[in-house]
């Protein structure tokens, strides 16, 4: 039985085509994923992303824990509400997950992780926080009556000797929250129109900053390459918030549009563009890996000692057709593989992210094997589209 977000009934009501995504019943689209894509690039759309999991880290050991667990450096976060994108690595330097961490105080951070990896991430974080998570795995925020379940309480984790930091961290999964991403050039203005009082707290936010709005968090983040907010709100207020956004003409958009938008924006998708066998340095995520600071983190020694022989770049299909994940790419330097491919609604042609041999350069022409044909593609540097503009 697939899990349902607090907005499940809303998606049904709006005619969403629901599909299983990482064990959750999620809307693929509400009619046309291409129209939803354009709606976000040109105006404002909203996505239910409540399947993702927010995990609060509280306690004086929180910063030390993140120093160890993630490849980007939380010391970059000095202003309360500042957000940082990072990978969390295994000891071999492979990606356990990619996440956003929000800083509030040195003893209070929030990490938002992917749905499909949430249980694994939670166990990994708890293990390194110094103990196992108490209680059963987290259930959906909504039960079959559509009402929120109570949040799992804090999991005070015992002081653990021998790890160096040894200061307590509470790892608190927040399945009591719903998340709505409102994205597009008009997303912020329409959010303010929908939620009285939100403008005062969030109008001054720069990209990758967040502010509290009562119990809710308003973050100027997203996964589309457009301006906008991600709202984290108590589950019981999810439907009212969604309906208020609808009333201010923010249109619902599904996972289909979310995928084409993020791919145009050159953003990696966990499980497709990188996984536990992939180094972030090969996945186009070197900019998120802090090898310079003296701090150690899990996976660092492996990454620091290795020059990657692969790289991730973009492809633009020159012929007609559609690039798809796992198609082979033939380059002068050897073979590569597409990790994510689609038809770009903004560019009306096919684009992809591909893992290519080191030495392949932007501007090169490569061949992609599609069924029984080899088609020409040009190597480009992602992103393809940002803020409504085609960049390649």
């Amino acid at each position: 039985m697939a899990k349902q977000t607090p907005l499940y009934a809303t998606h049904v009501r709006l005619g969403g085509k629901l599909v299983d995504f990482a064990g959750w019943d999620m809307p693929l689209h509400y009619g046309s994923q291409v129209e939803e894509h354009h709606q976000v690039r040109r105006d404002a759309g909203m996505f239910d992303v409540s399947h993702m999991l927010a995990i609060d880290l509280e306690g004086e050991g929180s910063r030390d824990l993140l120093h160890k667990l993630i490849a980007n450096n939380v010391d970059k976060l000095t202003l309360p509400g500042r957000a940082l994108y990072s990978c969390m690595l295994n000891p071999k330097g492979g990606v356990i997950d990619d996440l956003i961490v929000y800083f509030f105080r040195p003893d209070f951070y929030r990490v938002v992780v992917n749905a499909g990896t949430a249980d694994k991430d939670l166990a990994w974080i708890a293990q390194h926080a110094g103990g196992a998570l108490a209680g059963p795995p987290q259930e959906s925020a909504a039960n079959d009556k559509g009402r929120a379940q109570p949040a799992n309480g804090h999991h005070p984790l015992p002081r653990e000797g021998g790890r160096g930091e040894g200061r307590p961290v509470t790892v608190k999964p927040r399945r009591d929250l719903a998340m709505i991403a409102v994205q597009g050039p008009n997303a912020r203005a329409k959010t303010w129109a929908a939620l009285p009082g939100a403008e005062a707290t969030s109008s001054g936010l720069k990209p990758f900053h967040a502010a509290w709005f009562g119990e809710a968090l308003i973050a100027r983040t997203g996964y589309t390459g457009e301006d906008g907010f991600e709202l984290m709100i108590p589950a019981e207020r999810a439907e009212a918030t969604w309906d208020a956004l609808l009333a201010s003409s923010v249109k619902p958009a599904g996972l289909g549009a979310r995928d084409t938008l993020r791919l145009e924006a050159g953003m990696a998708l966990y499980g497709q563009d990188m996984d536990e066998q992939t180094s972030p340095l090969e996945a186009g995520l070197a900019w998120t890996v802090d090898l310079a600071a003296p701090r150690d983190f899990i996976g660092k020694s492996v990454l620091a000692g290795r020059r990657p022989d692969k790289q991730t770049l973009g492809l633009l299909l020159e012929d007609r057709g559609v690039l798809r994940a796992h198609q082979k790419v033939f380059c002068a330097q050897g073979e590569g593989e597409i990790t994510s491919g689609t038809f770009s609604p903004s560019m009306s042609r096919s684009i992809a992210l591909a893992r290519l041999p080191a030495g392949v350069a932007v501007g090169d022409t490569v061949d992609v094997e599609i069924r029984d044909k080899r088609l020409k593609a040009t190597v480009v540097k992602p992103p393809f589209v940002r803020n409504g503009k085609v960049l390649v």
Binding site: L28, H29, S32, Q33, T260, G321, R324
Partner: protein, 127 residues
């Protein structure tokens, strides 16, 4: 669900229409275009190609996936709809107007082995 009663259907969601000139026009059903979502690319067969019944002979790609199209009856491809290939979204707009290819059937009576609208409605309802 829009399933015209004057057409024949394959379980794999193609429709076929036998015209007075003896040629069979082939497309995908309204149910199929709905399930595929926004269609963005058509790969149509070469004119002159001989196909067996059930043979893969075209591909319809939507934003989310590629889907094989099968010849509903055996025959020779005698025409393809270049206008549909140039505007793949026309299949979403009217799946029965935006045909994909025409076959000269080896045996026109083979169409009798296809589903009628009522039988196809049951197939479509099952998914």
């Amino acid at each position: 669900m829009n399933i015209p009663t004057d057409l024949k259907y394959a379980k794999s969601h193609e429709w076929a229409r036998l015209a007075d000139d003896g040629l069979v026009t082939v497309g995908i059903s309204d149910h199929a275009q709905e399930a595929l979502g926004d269609i963005v690319f058509l790969e149509l067969p070469q004119v002159g190609r001989k196909v067996k019944a059930g043979e893969e002979c075209a591909v319809v790609e939507s934003v989310k996936a590629a889907s094989d199209i099968y010849a509903p009856v055996a025959g020779e491809v005698v025409a393809v709809n270049q206008a549909a290939a140039d505007a793949p979204e026309s299949v979403n707009q009217d799946a029965y107007a935006a045909w994909l290819f025409k076959l000269k059937p080896d045996n026109a009576a083979d169409l009798d082995g296809l589903l009628d609208a009522a039988a196809y409605a049951k197939v479509a309802a099952e998914g």
